[in-house]
Symmetry: D3
Subunit: 341 residues, 6 copies
């Protein structure tokens, strides 16, 4: 089964352990990016995962290709050109000290992608699913145009389409986000978001939620999801619920609204001791896409997605290095962490 993703992969640079940036003259250098993280998960889950982006023709671009290929992601349609790969620096927080992300992504190859760089109909040929996040159109006019072209081609090819709203305050305003993302929603089958994204991108407030304290009111989520379906179109709305107790400990769960049947599915809940929470939302999206695309029931797909993303948050780096069997083992209930010999 072929799944296509489109977005920005960046070089990720992190200090060792819990150090602050450049406290020591060493950086852990990996790669990450919203859709790429989804692509890697889907490849690990055994699907044919085609990732589309634009890389510069230099040693960093080559290394990015190598990183994707290693994980089994297909790189056939990656365009080459532009001057640089975006970079982001990240510190791992602990306890009361928050993790930080510092972007150096302006002028990246994908943000300057020409209109004719990708032959979208060829890319989408026989694709069962297309996934993109709200980050990609926020990279600039050219990336937004490419996103629109990709969605249109996916639609023509009969692929299902998911969008993770992923609002990035540094890239655009809420007004700009709504103006761009709103119209795209018509063609979208599944919207993925957290409560802040819903508010910032679609202007849909989740009532009764206090992000900092982690207080949750399921009713608020249902009403918000209903509004998304009613006002913007997508039948499925998945919302992740992160209780930020500290930079070391988070609660983690999600709901999935099925506008067709009017059902709100609520997932299992995990108390996660965080190793690396970057990419947590992407691993949820990938789990959900995998579950839905392979025909699992809505509640089972949700359960799989939450288990997958709990595991991700215990693994260093953006990528979720787990198999379907490992996710299923957790989803089926063994969260004891007993040694597997």
């Amino acid at each position: 089964m072929k799944v296509v993703t489109f977005g920005e992969l960046m070089l990720r640079l992190s200090p060792p352990g819990f150090e602050r940036l450049l406290q020591s003259p060493a950086l852990v250098a990996t790669f990450g990016g919203g859709e790429a993280n989804v692509a890697v998960s889907l490849a690990q889950f055994g699907l044919e995962s085609q990732y589309v982006t634009r890389f510069p023709s230099n040693a960093i671009g080559e290394a990015a290709v190598r990183a994707l290929r290693a994980e089994g992601v297909r790189t056939d349609f990656i365009a080459r050109g532009g001057s640089r790969l975006g970079i982001y620096f990240t510190e791992t927080g602990a306890s009361q000290r928050a993790s930080t992300v510092l972007y150096d992504r302006a002028h990246s190859a994908i943000s300057e992608i020409p209109a004719d760089a990708i032959d979208w109909d060829r890319v989408m040929n026989a694709a069962a699913w297309f996934h993109v996040t709200g980050i990609t159109p926020a990279l600039g006019d050219k990336a937004a145009a490419a996103t629109r072209a990709a969605i249109a081609a996916a639609k023509r090819a009969g692929a299902r389409i998911s969008v993770d709203l992923n609002y990035r305050r540094k890239l655009w305003t809420e007004a700009q986000a709504l103006a761009t993302m709103g119209p795209l929603m018509r063609d979208v089958d599944v919207v993925i978001a957290n409560e802040e994204d819903l508010q910032s991108v679609l202007g849909v407030e989740v009532e009764g939620v206090d992000v900092t304290s982690g207080t949750l009111d399921v009713g608020g989520y249902r009403r918000a999801a209903e509004r998304v379906t009613r006002e913007f179109g997508p039948a499925l709305v998945a919302i992740t619920l992160r209780e930020s107790l500290s930079a070391s400990d988070n609660g983690w769960s999600a709901v999935l609204w099925d506008g067709g049947s009017g059902t709100l599915h609520r997932s299992q809940h995990y108390a996660v001791r965080l190793v690396d929470r970057i990419g947590g939302g992407d691993s949820f999206a990938a789990g959900l896409i995998y579950g839905l695309a392979t025909g699992r029931a809505h509640d089972a797909a949700l359960r799989f997605a939450v288990a997958a993303s709990a595991l991700k948050q215990t693994i260093p780096g953006d990528f979720n290095r787990v198999s379907v069997a490992e996710v299923d083992a957790l989803a089926k209930g063994d969260a004891s962490g007993r040694v597997q010999r």
Copy 2:
């Protein structure tokens, strides 16, 4: 006081931190193995600790000798020969993600140990204690024969004998385990096990225990221990109780059944934030042997064993790098972790 142990030492290869295997091109390379871990603890506690095994005559075998010698273990009776040292790969889990152990131990030097490789009566001369685990006879017919020969010689030498059942599903079936281990029990003074080992090796079920949830019923442990004494012979039965809350947090305690007086001693309980739980059971066995061999009362020996093994689980690697003084400080009650200046 001379203590003898016999078993397999392996090269242990682990990825750095919480990474998955070969996520980075680096492995932490140490050594570990059930009886060797006990031998190291006992040497650190100041006993004359003789470890018997078979190593190949190559650079890896030499490094294994160096690792043991560094910790003060006597290597006088280690046989040389065979083609390879066993290897095991281990990942450190976190939260909902379990730690994993992947064995590459087939055809190891000890599994092919010739019948005449060790002069067991010379080894056991003046020994006060002999310890072996259920892993060693599971390595194959030759290792099982050597185990029987060792126990017989220990008996002749008047040494007390302890066995840690340590069932390994990858090495043999439950039926094979019972057929081999059952008869050995006659000569054993102290049996050490967790509830799964009792079931798998001796067919003795511990009722009222749910491993995954960590629910414990002391009565079940008493009944199981009584059965071991009654049906198999050993007067002392120590059972460790691990509550696997997650791969990051475990509850840890133990009971010691004294068949002679019909007493069940229950230890203190620790909530352990795990650093490395591999070798936890071995450090318990070593603590118990040390306590009993040096004449401490049963409940004090049990208390020492549980404190020793709690400390082990906070130290990277298989070996328990603590002194008697450090264990006693914890056993006497200061679990506050205040800085020792």
Copy 3:
């Protein structure tokens, strides 16, 4: 605003992660010391931070200067001479295993500081604050004499003076501490201590406190602080309250007694997942000095100090690598640790 500190900076050598000393042939090499840690914090907070000490004229002394200069500390008045820089080895504990500190500081350059090495009136010129700990006079007669000279000059210059009692059992007896520190108190404006320091240095017991269990009685702190003001002179007495639940988890808060108004301020409380607690007390002192010296109200200064020191305990190394903005963000209430993008 110019702040002066005086004390011993040492080379700090630690094994990687949770290893015990020299388990691997590698040491993390940084620098640390009570007053130097305060000096670094104050420089990071934007004050003109002059650190006074004595360094040997060799590559290690040069590296110490580099480390201070990097953090923005002014090194203009550091004397050169003597034969060595003090060293301390530290292990990071976990769970039931305590962190350890092993000193190799005898015969350090500062412990042999000649009477004329520092022109204290020049140093204190225009200084707004002077800070020293009880460690410095404990280093020996010469260091004690220098401490007295520094305090006298600070007084002449009109600087406010703070002392962190910091009792070190390895350096002197309680009787010696009282004989030296007691008379100094007359010139001190702010005393900083924990309950053990009060008892050991000034003979002032805090009643109703059980250090190991973490039981706290605020009334006891009030009475102890009142006694310090009454018997020794300082109007402000800050006491840190550490609940040592384990080597991994501590409770952290503080009180500030204002002898002038007869008010006891009690701070917010943090449950800290420890990364590195060495330097925690120093970061509290720096936070308090910053708050008081820049004119914040007593309760706000206390709040800032506790937030600053909670953050420190999540950062490897002695130094508190945080900005005023980061401390204020936590002090204002966001302890959720959400990712800062």
Copy 4:
């Protein structure tokens, strides 16, 4: 252009820098193996490089697939099964101290490859070239049978066939090597070897060569190559000439005998400061295959091969991480090592 290779990929474990094995508890973990190294080079050079082997179905096998895929090697036909991946340990020597290789490869998955594990005709479909080394049939009867089947299928498919003799004393005797390799030569187009391989595998002595001193007599190489063509069949015989001045410095060049025209081509010569010479011969083979398969003249192909393998010996790990452009730049004459900005 499709090129197929077949052989054993092993986990390669090396101590850091110039350390001896397990001097520190750390190993650099990469992958390597004769044909796999060729496959990686050819993928880097832009050919469609299909590598065939057998991997165990476990985390180490998965990591091996990831390593190959990262470099662009196609893994479509890799069989899964067996119990382990072979391992080799290697130390990097310096000056008078030789590099060492210690194999732990017995019982590897490929050595136990079933006769029907690979559908060779499907593998060879449309292949332009097939390459194998003398190591693969030396792994045991099953691997030898698979090698024969592969060569037969390659022949049927019209692919050109190259063999690197690569004698391994630990795997078989010279008599065994000749009995197996001799008959295979009939179907081989290009033989690659050094003077020791020619002697040990085919019994063809190169006269006038003193391996240790590095004395070379071109006439001896010509006569030996002529004999290979005459007695065994292959028209092209490439012989690498390594002058082992020390473990740090080698001379490096090669000759190519064209039996068709009776011409001996002699390459350029490099004085190589070694970084990692493991894989040097494989990178030569890959360079030669690339040159010949893409239609370069014999002398140009030889020149390319020697330049490629000189570069390999300056790069850590078995794999030759260079592009055609980089090799051509060196082959065209710029060996100055000036910084490329």
Copy 5:
């Protein structure tokens, strides 16, 4: 003595040892840049070294300030603003494999420096020397304007002025370079270059030099230097002579033309086993500036400069971590490398 430098400091990211970029997921992260390297050297030599640049107001900019401050460089006049710090990636070559430098410096803070960002007259107040390279004006119109303003202010302040031509093909054409740099030469006292820079920036060819082979003709250097003085103005012209034998071994020496007396000084010659040649030219410039600024004779200053830069090339990173005493020891003739105890 106050010396001012102005230019771009970049984050330098390098793989460990001789690896190629991102062969492992680790980068060594330091800082470097032409003028900054000079500034660090001069600070190490004991001068008051003021470095002027523009840094973004983020964690990377802070780390850059820390790196400079650590080495004793004064950062008082560094402007803050812009969006990013330039980055460069560098691989360390060996033998026939060249070192590489890959720039990601477009849109850096300094390349967008506003005209009023620096108060140049305040900066140059009491300065004895100003140094800049040809890289800075090549960064763009704003940086070129700032360079012109800096030179004009230096002239007004009576400082001597040196320029290292440092041609960068990726930043501008030879025609652009001449158009910008030619007019600046009028105010310059000392020009520093290699033979390629003279050709590319000033159009002055050094005859009789074959860069790749390392053949040198002193007469050609004399004639080229004379032309620079005659046609462009600067009285002193220093030319470095690098014989690139390989990426591991270089010959290193220099000449200094004194247009006033019509003398060509030729330096000592070193055969350098390279550790890190990046920054070699900058360390030469710094040595020459130090020698000339502190009143050493021309030949002694040249000798000091060549010794300083030979040492630099044995030290990892851009910065030359040596003292005047260490340089003088080498310049006086002891190149034996005997252990200094």
Copy 6:
């Protein structure tokens, strides 16, 4: 065969690779010391190697014991007490930059060794050889007294005695050295030295040698050795000849004067590419002791010693990690460094 050595073992701290001290916050931590290095070599060569010293009773002293025990050195007679272990910092130089050693050894446990700490007659019981260097008596009066007592006891026990003169300028003057070492020579069988030691300790000049340039005149060595035998007594005098071409490349050879037969043996010569030259002289002493103690002829023992010490200089750390077989292979002539598979 039992060999006894007595001296100071220190903690050795080195920056990674070619970095200067504390350029990065990391130190490689091993152990080394003249006699300990000899003891390790002899243990590796298979002799019973008893090392005597005094260690503090702390974690660093424990780690030192572990390091010795790992290498097979017997630690039965090591005294415990005193306050610290000596430390030395060392940088690895390259090319024109010298390696450096910075000592922090004052007040070490052994320098304060009480007169009754060691029962020397028990230590020397059945010893065949005793070895000490000139460093040990230079540590202070107590260490000198212990050295005298050790030599006297060795003499009583009939052991042969060797002394490596090893002059340390930082520890004593030449006059002090002669006053202490001269009288000891009467009981010494073998003196080991380089030409500087002979001059500084015994006042015996080697004529015709220019240390820096590496010019050697064998006649001068013969005359100097003859004088040592004639004036001080020892029949055998071994002198190592190091040609310091640079910090990267040294020539290495030695002579052995046999005063009994009036023969000067001259060794083979190696051009050594240095990895770590610290401990080179000690590995020579160990090789010579091994050769002589096991009854090899004088010229063969010398050849073995020079080969052993050439290998040492290619291995990181003070210890010479080679076997007798490896040394013999080199001594017999294969210096080609070809890979050992």
